[in-house]
Subunit: 227 residues, 6 copies
């Protein structure tokens, strides 16, 4: 399924401003705006709470226990990118630590999303370099086998193509395909616009039942009230 | 097993003061006072560290991927309640976010306990609205199918009846049945009373072996010392 | 496989200074220095972020749902020890809480590593007594059955012998066998020495590809660049 | 939540003929007839393929690693019963083997459903005594602590009361509450009656799209066909 | 990430003979021939042992707890196809049972691969209609929400495009992309050709060490023999 | 923790007759005879039902995704051995298939126990070469990195030393240490001797309550009977 041993050096990326604005909405709003698709499986967790980032995907395909290609992908990072790393089989090894983070940060990466493990998490937290991963592990890796850079990958159940937008925060990681980025941004903007007013109403004690006119549909669906 | 499509509006609740005092002991002490039963499975985790709450249960039964009844249960919340949400099948979707939290808080809810996912966890943390859940997920839900409100539910392996006391903190979530609330409070109070003195002794270097008179029973059980 | 009902009271321990210096490197560096062995499975997680400890192992073998031997092992703790607790079958009960932590701390223990559950985690966090465990659970235990103290145990997939060095931090828990402690310390020291310079280079934008001279090997391995 | 240390000796049971007829439909049909509730979590698996049983529940509440009450519940078994065993905390130990199976079978039990482990599965398979469990494990248990017999229990996420009907086959385990047994039997009978005709149509190549008149609703929902 | 509410009716398929011949090699050989990529995660298991099938993929995207689109995809099945079903979020419900299997079989489908649950497994086994799934569950589904048919889907960690070849047996499920089908068939054929001779040598007691000339490389790698 | 890159060629083995007789009792009885220790975690499952084997352990330590040492260990197999394979990190790859099985069988191995994946399970089943593993996976491995042969390993939570006895059947895998083999055989023999009589009594309807004289202890423990 994967092309192995290749590195694509020229990829088209979603416009950086669009990516940034998508990020400002957070993963939940963007996921809704995408029609509730594109979310990575919820075992992908941030190494520290509170980070909210977005960026354009550069992808890397790794082999179990081998992080050689992490050094290769570093050269492809441009400011505003998020590195998305997939592995050809389940592996929880720590592919990424403070040295690679120093390099990625120097290249302008916003974050790493990896369906594997990460280490040096205390230092990464101090550096404020956010990582979403499925594990934390002190176990290091070898540098022996070729994978690929900037091929489409499946990461945590979701297809990621180079140049797609990644939005990640405490709620998870959403992938916005290149072709849908502007449309998703518009939908997210519209959705967000109505939220402030709703929040104020709910805070004042108005019920969602009334605000959303749900009482009729509930009655129609047959809800029985028992006093 | 469940009654579907019904909402019970008048439930008896354990006295609010009893619920509050049970909460002051924390889940570990209350669980002991209950004879080591009533604890939800340990995959129920708080979205942020440090919260310790208690309250009377209002329950809601949901379908996978559908949070319609969360709006219905909101109307039944009284100050001091904890909402307990069960789902008819395993689901990690994010049923609850900052808008619903605003509404629940306005109604006086102390917390949400849900055997499913939650989202907007950064905002919920800022709002100090605690949630115990089995997952965090940006994935939203539809509003299409009737469940029930204030029927007995099984949540994370434990039976919860409306009006029972919920005690939740970093160690987990305990359910105290209506009929056992006062008795459990008495037992917890007694248990706690003796802890301060014990702690002081242990801090001074006295061993539990001596404080609890365990050397005799250990010898009787046949413990062999090898020097 | 295990000797049951015995307590070894005289164990040889790795020199405390060696243990302390190993701890200063953290689990990832020590794990590398050990040839990438000795790491406990990554489901062992700290109850709070940021702790980094090391010490000499005293071991205890427990039965499911029974923490009697935790009081027995307390007597064997010397300043600088880390207690390592294994259970004869999978169990997530909370074997350890604030009272035992008070006692362990008074004896000079640096930490607890337990392949089971722990409770009172908020208080333990306030006390700054770190625990690495596979679960958090309010569920308490009985005191009924003999296990053993200071026998070799398997904890989270790794063999631990009394007197071995334990290094634990946010990345996990590594076990350094008695016989390899000095050699591992030397290897870790050598490894660490070169890291500062590398970090500076990477921060300045130098790529690992160049710093590690990887371009030749990548070409030899057949990496194809596609523009 | 549980009453500990009690044994109820007189329970009402659903009529044996109703239980048997429910069993003839299998778990999937009965689950539908119950409004899609009452199914135990799917990690409950049969120890061998092909068994399909039903019966009236006698319940037993066990402690982790302790099967004492299995001998107590044996005395309450009447011909046609299914024993349902819950444990107060997660445990995969083998609580049940060929000796207990011999006893249960002699008492007329149809099956065991246990949220824990079972052993001697080769012999149980030869004896044709079916067990649904969450694990298989050679690990035995002690006989030390009181649980309860014939109290309501939560087993694999579902509430089971003594006398309820249990229907179990390769698809899982369904619990039919005492009060709903006859109504569920009627619904299952009606459901099954229409299946034969449907099967014949589908086998002849008629599509569900046409047999269920789905084309209109699909069009209304907006399905777009792309040639 | 997914296109929702669309059904593609004309897809190109790998030649049926190529698909059949790939199937004859089994998933392990095909996976090797593909460069060790394209394997679904190993939690995908067959409902009965011994089935070995292949076919061209028709895909269906489902929502949690909703199997409406299974009836829609049935119309797109041609003899020799394998239906591959993905769900937009984790779900273990039983989306497929004996009625749908009757219909799929009548249309000429060879198998179903579904990242969710299946039911009626005893009848499916008798019908010899193989299914690879991540769960077995009696829980049925509703028919309420549009998904899609014949769009690319991610199933169990692997991208599947309509018309790709699926090879499935007791070892798992491999996806061969349309463009690589012939090349993979050639590689598998070459690989298989040499296996018979190797098997005979190994059966006669020749060691792989000698047959593969590994002694030199092992010595070079530094293997130490200790007598 | 592990010695890497070494192969011990002369190991002492438990007498073959002792190993065979231990195997005749099965894992559950041997586990009891060992004081309920030595059982591998229950995720180790046989690839087909009904196998019951024993033998003397030869051990092999592997790296993730690399089965080179499987060929090395083959040379150390003597008739009556069971190969026990551990991996330095979690991995579900298929390390072993029909070619290696042919070789192992030709050398006289009774079985393989591996904390990883296996493939070609249909052929292995036809060959009647039993394997206990934690996964089945078509994914193959490389042959690149040195591990070790006949060093002590931790496999599925249990320490295995070369020459120990392995007893494996449908209930799991038990390790009997070299020094305890005869003593365990004696205990198992004694235990088994009394089982036939017990089985006959239970089959005739005698209750374990009476046969084991449990009524007094239950009364003493405070069991309340409610009619």
């Amino acid at each position: 399924m994967y092309e192995l041993g290749v590195e694509y050096r020229n990829i088209r990326r979603v416009d950086g401003d669009v990516a940034a604005r998508l990020g400002s909405f957070g993963s939940a709003t963007v996921h809704e705006a995408l029609g509730r698709t594109g979310l990575m499986k919820p075992y992908m967790r941030p190494i520290y709470a509170g980070a909210q980032v977005s960026g354009t995907a550069v992808t890397v395909l790794l082999h179990p226990g081998d992080n050689w290609m992490m050094h290769v992908v570093a050269e492809q990072i441009r400011p505003g990118d998020v590195v998305v790393a997939a592995v050809t089989a389940d592996c929880s090894d720590g592919y990424f630590g403070d040295l690679l983070a120093t390099s990625f940060k120097a290249r302008g990466a916003h974050a790493l999303v990896i369906e594997a493990g990460v280490r040096d998490v205390r230092v990464l937290t101090e550096m404020k370099f956010p990582v979403w991963s499925k594990a934390v592990s002190a176990k290091g890796t070898v540098k022996a086998t070729l994978g690929s850079v900037n091929v489409p990958v499946v990461c945590a159940g979701t297809l990621v193509k180079p140049g797609d937008v990644i939005v990640a925060d405490d709620d998870g990681v959403v992938v916005v395909p290149f072709d849908l980025a502007q449309k998703t941004l518009d939908a997210a903007t519209a959705r967000e616009a109505s939220e402030g007013e709703k929040r104020a109403k709910l805070a004042s004690g108005v019920l969602g039942l009334d605000m959303y006119n749900m009482r009729g549909p509930l009655e129609k669906a047959g809800l029985k009230y028992i006093d």
